[in-house]
């Protein structure tokens, strides 16, 4: 059996959870087995996970899991994995998943590959999986040789597939011990898709000259339903909030579309964005290194090009 931990922060299943279950179902098919989804704490519509491929949905409806503690989460997931004889345990490669994957590997005496980006190859019941390493500059292929495997799945690596049937969630209890972490507060930006989950990202750099110029970037993001990001110097000089900083020292993202505006494309910036499916670069300097990593490039003044691009997208949306 393949067990997938489906994250439901503040009671809502995440997009990453749908991706993980879709992936888990495909791994289960490769192994000739079934996929079970597990949720912890209060969760709306856990039955939905059936539509993404889980043939069984388990929920530990214990409100103490509404606060994240990697120790208790890992204990609960490992407990369910053991009781159900899971051969593969899958979590999302998110702040939550990354904090429990290593713990699960220790608890289950399992080999771990974190941040996998594609489906495994299966031979003799063993999984061989790929992930990007060296901050996107290379790909590594690993074979897990232990009887149980733990994988964490990179965001946007697979498209959620909701073609199945919903499955009534079954309530179970687990033995997860008592926690030693007390969550005091959770502060999130409402309204926007968080950067790691965003499918379209509009990002801007020092070429913007001044924080008061960001209106054109926000307008473009608004039209596209995109999330905004920025380069490091922009965050460092407080032109934009720190959570927008992408790159080696910021966060690494892999949206379907990354639009880089007035960003030179330094190697440390690319390290966080070079796994985007499609990259568009807008820069007035034809020699900007970013053009080497781009799929589409526009050599021109961003203050003219960005509003023009926004109008073109609006026109496209109106006619589609």
């Amino acid at each position: 059996m393949v067990l997938v931990f489906a994250e439901s922060p503040r009671g809502h299943l995440k997009k990453a959870a749908f991706e993980a279950v879709t992936y888990g179902k495909k791994v289960a098919d490769l192994l000739g087995t079934s996929c079970t989804a597990l949720t912890l704490g209060t969760v709306d519509q856990a039955a939905e996970l059936g539509r993404y491929g889980a043939s069984k949905v388990l929920n530990v409806a214990d409100a103490s899991f509404d606060q994240f503690d990697s120790q208790r989460f890992a204990a609960a997931i490992a407990d369910v994995a053991k009781n159900n004889g899971a051969k593969v345990v899958i979590v999302s490669h998110t702040s939550t998943g990354k904090s429990i994957a290593g713990r699960l590997a220790v608890r289950l005496d399992a080999g771990l590959v974190s941040g996998v980006s594609g489906l495994p190859e299966v031979s003799g019941g063993q999984l061989t999986v790929k992930k990007t390493v060296f901050s996107g500059k290379a790909i590594a292929e690993y074979r897990i040789t232990s009887p149980v495997s733990v994988l964490s799945l990179m965001g946007n690596a697979i498209k959620p597939d909701a073609s199945g049937q919903s499955v009534a969630a079954e309530n179970i209890s687990t033995n997860a011990g008592s926690g030693r972490i007390r969550v005091k507060d959770v502060r999130t930006q409402e309204g926007r898709v968080p950067l790691p989950e965003a499918e379209i990202v509009v990002s801007a750099g020092r070429g913007m000259k001044d924080p008061s110029n960001w209106g054109i970037v926000e307008d473009l993001a608004e039209t596209l339903g995109a999330t905004t990001a920025c380069s490091r110097p922009v965050a460092d000089s407080d032109w934009r909030p720190h959570h927008e900083h992408v790159g080696q020292t910021g966060i690494a993202i892999r949206p379907n579309l990354y639009i880089a505006i007035g960003i030179s494309g330094a190697i440390q910036h690319l390290a966080g964005v070079n796994n985007s499916k499609v990259i568009v670069v807008i820069n007035k300097d034809p020699e900007a290194p970013f053009f080497k990593a781009a799929d589409y490039g526009v050599v021109g003044d961003l203050f003219e090009v960005v509003p023009r691009l926004n109008e073109a997208f609006k026109k496209f949306k109106a006619s589609n």
Binding site: A74, V113, G297
Partner: protein, 246 residues
Amino acid sequence: MKFLVCISQTPDTTAKISFSADGKEFNAAGVQFIMNPYDEWYALVRACELREALGGSVVALNVGPASNETTIRKALAIGADEAVRINAEPKSAAFVAKQIAEYARNEQFDAIFFGKETIDYNGSEVGAMVAEILDLPYISYASKLDLNGNAATFERDIEGGVEVLEADLPFVVSASKGMAEQRIPNMRGIMTARTKPLKVVEPVPFEEQVETVKFSLPPAKAGVKLVDPENMDELVRLLHEDAKVI
């Protein structure tokens, strides 16, 4: 207070990455190595700041061969009081975690620090593994850490926000941007680093459960397609019809 900071050595951020012909090994020839930035800038510096405020000691630990000692001396120059090198090639996250945990088990550290991930294998695995082996709380991606008596308060980065939390000592923490500011070692630090203790410990046995099949370089991009800046309708068309991302 006794703090352990686990430091990793990684290729420099701008290093050109290549592999042996069979794809089995990283090609280190001509590559400049550095201390993993998250370990150095945030974890190590914050541990030193807390030691300066509260007293105690900071131990820097690296799992690696003797050639890593330049990096270890840098940690001492930045402010660690002593260092430990576990004499082995850091073959995998699980191997490194096992070595660190076995060393830390009997040392009564009040906190064990990691960087949020290494910039080479990008695993973010070791901290969680050490915490599990030692049965300790683990606070990952902490951008803020303060100690008050026997408790610690943290802010940790989560998708689209921050979580504020509290835990009792001892704990394991992984540091992200914001926890501290990078420190450049000064002359005095560099001088005293030469005479600070650096202990070498032999590794404990470990059985790998993950094998590297091979490394490869990503397929080269087809090359940029330039679009006339006057004609953004054309860019939209390409993104819709060719790239199919809108």
